[in-house]
């Protein structure tokens, strides 16, 4: 398998050695076992669909009394993040209540304004996807990345017809060095999946281009897509991107490492 294998989970190391983790998909279990640091863990969750929190309960630091975990994510309009996550950590979905886990866990509803974590600047905004869902932008020393793994940037409107401020997630992705963005569907599949909250390859490329993102990393592959099928989407994305520079779109893969400097 060249692509996929786990649901969304991205490790980010900051210049000062801090650890941020974007989403708590199934990859979080393996990451927890490989962690080589005792520093506080900041988990930035985009939303609470199961594929983004499934790894949380099996994250090793959760079960160590000395570990400090900070979980950041979206409140709903009426419930805090903690209240919402507690549901996934309680019977009948799980035998143990979150209050009984040994780690020092703090929940944070994401602030509306940008904030600093581990020496980098974080910005979170709600983006178009069913249920309260965030995208994140991380900036440091003149470099930046955006992470918008679940996103249907327009519904019933052409992206090209909208002013930037009306495009969901645009401010997060504007001028970033790397954009990790939803690219679940082919253009042929999308019409029967409108409103599911995910992008076609054409959406992903058009969104990245409108935001002037320098590089697109295609993310959130359809679980039923083969490696060869992902290759076909990458070829299509590169064709839509319009030039054959080194910064042409690529597909995210297990273990991929990107260095921003």
């Amino acid at each position: 398998m060249r692509f996929g294998g786990n649901t969304p989970c991205v490790e980010v190391r900051t210049p000062n050695g801090g650890l941020l983790i974007l989403d708590a998909g199934t990859g979080l279990r393996q990451l927890g076992e490989q962690l080589d640091t005792d520093c506080p863990v900041h988990l930035l969750v985009t939303h609470l669909h199961l594929d983004h929190v499934e790894g949380l309960r099996f994250f090793a630091p959760f079960w160590h009394p000395e570990r400090e975990l900070h979980i950041w994510g979206p409140p709903s309009p009426v419930h805090t993040l903690e209240e919402r996550i507690t549901r996934a950590f309680s019977p009948p979905l799980f035998p143990i209540e979150i209050s009984d886990t040994p780690a020092k866990v703090t929940f944070h509803d994401v602030p509306r304004e940008p904030w600093e974590l581990e020496g980098v600047r974080i910005e979170a905004q709600t983006v178009s996807h069913p249920g309260p869902t965030l995208g994140y932008r991380i900036s440091s020393n003149g470099t930046s990345m955006a992470y918008i793994p679940d996103h249907e940037p327009v519904l019933g409107i052409e992206l090209a017809d909208l002013e930037p401020e009306w495009i969901s997630g645009h401010a997060l992705a504007e001028d970033v060095d790397v954009l990790l963005h939803d690219c679940q569907f082919s253009e042929g599949e999308y019409p029967s999946r409108v409103g599911w909250g995910h992008s076609s390859v054409a959406h992903a490329v058009a969104f990245a281009r409108r935001a002037d993102a320098r590089r697109l990393v295609m993310f959130h592959h359809d679980p039923n897509r083969s490696d060869d099928g992902v290759d076909v989407l990458v070829e299509r994305a590169q064709e839509l991107w319009g030039d054959s520079s080194e910064d042409a779109p690529v597909a995210a893969s297990e273990g991929m490492t990107l260095e921003l400097s």
Binding site: P77, V78, T126, S128, E165, W166, S168, A171, E174
Partner: protein, 137 residues
Amino acid sequence: MEGRPPQKHLALIIARELATQLATAMFIADAQGRLVFYNEAAEEILGKTFAEAGTMAAEGWTSQFRLEELDGTPMSLERMPAGIALMEQRPAHGKLWMTGLDGQRRLLAVTAVPLFASETEVVGMIALFWQSTPDDP
């Protein structure tokens, strides 16, 4: 980007997407009362396309679309369903006379609802409206 309007709240973006799919006239204002969008059905009633009219501060649209009470006296923003939704942060319904940008005077029924993004944060208001008659309830 410097000089560019700030990113709209997702609730407003989705409201605009909804408006573009409706045959019912819909008008959207942000939390400051600024008109940010109205749809094609509203264009028929307001007498000008949104592309022509553009965004407007509250003072702009309340004066351009001349609004009157049923007895013909001028209607203040505080009395308009849209004004109530924004200032009192509660839904409101009412009838009023409106003279659109095409100079036509029409009797309208208006229902306006504040958009709460959280229990305490109002990010704007939507108003649905349609032509009415004096006998309609």
